[in-house]
């Protein structure tokens, strides 16, 4: 079965006699503990009937002047489509966590500004494997053993010691960096631009801060015809402006085919980006009133600038993941949380609507970090799930 834990969406999970096989710690915990810490329907601090909670949500959204529909990275594509329909009906803002996560990197891929490939092709063909500002050990635990450095592949039969070259770029020696031993390089950076600049300088035959490391990587790139760079949050926040990175990927492709795959954590963040992109040409922070996307339409900006008066927050926990000064603003607006669990945001929301856990209690399509689509399994179907909630809200408007 498929594990809904992260964007790896591993497809080889088995449950035998109550034991979860092959899933990493994060994934196994989802299967083992899905009945724990569940949310209850709440309106203004009191537990109510779930349909009453949904009615209250409809009431709030109907009377809201500037609502935002936010989250959805843990919900299937089919639910994301309903979310977009809802935002359109409300003339609202719609955004997901990718606006402060890896939306930019996914956008590069969807707009074809960088060449991309699939994780299966990486396993079969890739020689140089770069993790730039990402620590898959904690964010995508099985990434390296299932798809990149460690497994054998069609053209990579001799395994990691001879047939792969690992490069880890980070500001500190992460667990992933610890693995850069034989046939590998760990490049510690303080400023990612300096590393990109070093690549250009070395390729022009000039001296550079990282000349040593870069020369080694280029030497290895030349040996193969298939290489891949995985970019994480470290790359995004290290650069802010991704243009130099796009230029670098272009330049590296002159040496040897080098592909890019965003290393995002959330199981279906790419699904949201692709679904919104299909409809609007933008991957996130969109306004159906203005029919465009702007940086100021990101959920964090909408809160910061007091632009919104209500928020429908689905399958995400901003109180946990966003800066304190931003989430303090939630006090000033009406908040509706739709979540299977009693998240931190649910604990302070005006309305809480319990829903189902994707991949355990509700099915649907999710998109892996490399764009491959998978269909989730169901262990125990739940009637009050994201589909039910979203449809009821749409009907109520």
């Amino acid at each position: 079965m498929i594990c809904p834990g992260c964007s790896c969406l591993c497809d080889d999970i088995e449950i035998m006699n109550g034991v979860v096989r092959n899933a990493c710690r994060r994934g196994a915990e989802i299967f083992l503990k899905y009945k724990e810490n569940r949310s209850k329907p709440i309106v203004n601090g009191k537990e109510v009937d779930v349909d009453k909670a949904i009615d209250k949500a409809v009431e709030i959204l109907k009377s809201s002047k500037n609502p935002v529909v936010y989250g959805f990275d843990t919900t299937p594509v089919e639910v994301q489509k309903l979310a977009i329909d809802l935002a359109e009906k409300l003339n609202a803002y719609i955004d997901d966590t990718s606006s402060f996560c890896l939306g930019d990197l996914v956008e590069l891929v969807l707009k074809k500004e960088v060449p991309t490939t699939t994780l299966d092709d990486v396993r079969n063909y890739a020689y140089v494997i770069v993790y730039w500002g990402a620590n898959p050990y904690h964010s995508l635990s099985r990434h390296m053993s299932k798809y990149t450095y460690y497994p054998r592949g069609e053209k990579r039969q001799k395994g990691y010691e001879e047939d792969r070259f690992l490069v880890v770029v980070d500001v500190r020696k992460s667990e992933t960096a610890m693995l850069a031993k034989t046939n590998a390089r760990y490049i510690v950076v303080d400023n990612d631009l300096e590393l990109i600049d070093s690549f250009f300088k070395v390729m022009e035959g000039k001296a550079a801060k990282y000349a040593n490391e870069v020369s080694a990587v280029i030497r290895e790139l030349r040996k193969s015809d298939f290489n891949v760079i995985f970019g994480g949050l470290g790359l995004k926040y290290g650069l802010r402006d991704l243009k130099p990175f796009v230029e670098l990927v272009k330049k590296l492709n002159e040496i040897s085919p080098t592909y890019f795959i965003p290393a995002g954590f959330h199981a279906n963040m790419r699904g949201f980006n692709e679904t919104l992109f299909e409809k609007t040409g933008f991957v996130n922070k969109y306004s159906f009133r203005d029919n465009t996307s702007k940086d100021s339409y990101a959920f964090v900006e909408l809160l910061k600038n007091d632009t919104i008066d209500s928020a429908l927050i689905v399958g995400t926990d901003p109180v946990k993941s966003l800066p304190f000064e931003i989430v303090s603003k939630l006090k000033k607006i009406k908040t509706i949380v739709v979540d299977p669990r009693n998240s931190l945001t649910a604990k302070i929301a005006d309305v809480v609507i319990p829903s189902a856990i994707s991949g355990i209690e509700q099915s649907g399509t999710m998109v892996r970090s490399d764009g491959v689509r998978v269909k989730l399994d169901v262990i125990e179907e739940r009637d009050v799930n994201d589909y039910y909630v979203m449809k009821r809200i749409l009907e109520g408007l």
């Binding site: 092959n22 710690r25 994934g27 196994a28 635990s141 053993s145 460690y150 497994p151």
Partner: protein, 156 residues
Amino acid sequence: MAITPMDIYKYLPKTNCKKCGENTCMSFAFKLLSREKKLEDCTPLFEEKKYEEYRKKLEELLKPLEEATETGLVVKEELCVGCGNCVVVCPVHVAEDPQGAGIGKGPTIEDPILRVENGVVKIVNMGKCRRYGKERILCVACRDNCPSEAISFLEG
């Protein structure tokens, strides 16, 4: 933390009496570590009063080996996140499960050496591991590719 044959040899009679079936006490020390021999095989240790202190020391020294798996591989579960590197790099898995663990999937063979269960790696069938048995190779693939150093071998 690792126990070496020298650590064991220190407390053996060092008479090379061959009562255990080995030619030398050093050879017996190696076989103790690899579980091919038991401490009781060295009868002088148990029969002669002068070796009582040595016997006690050896029993204490060898206790962790008993408490660990059959063959001395220890997993610190609190450090393991189930990344699966150990399962995939294992040369035995690569040889015996080329379409399963060898290509990054969970093991498809009935009795792999290691498998991730409930999120942490568990030892399933140590008998296949190359470190143990008559023709032992000092393979360190699983330990060396564990990003959090959760895997260690008691005998170094």
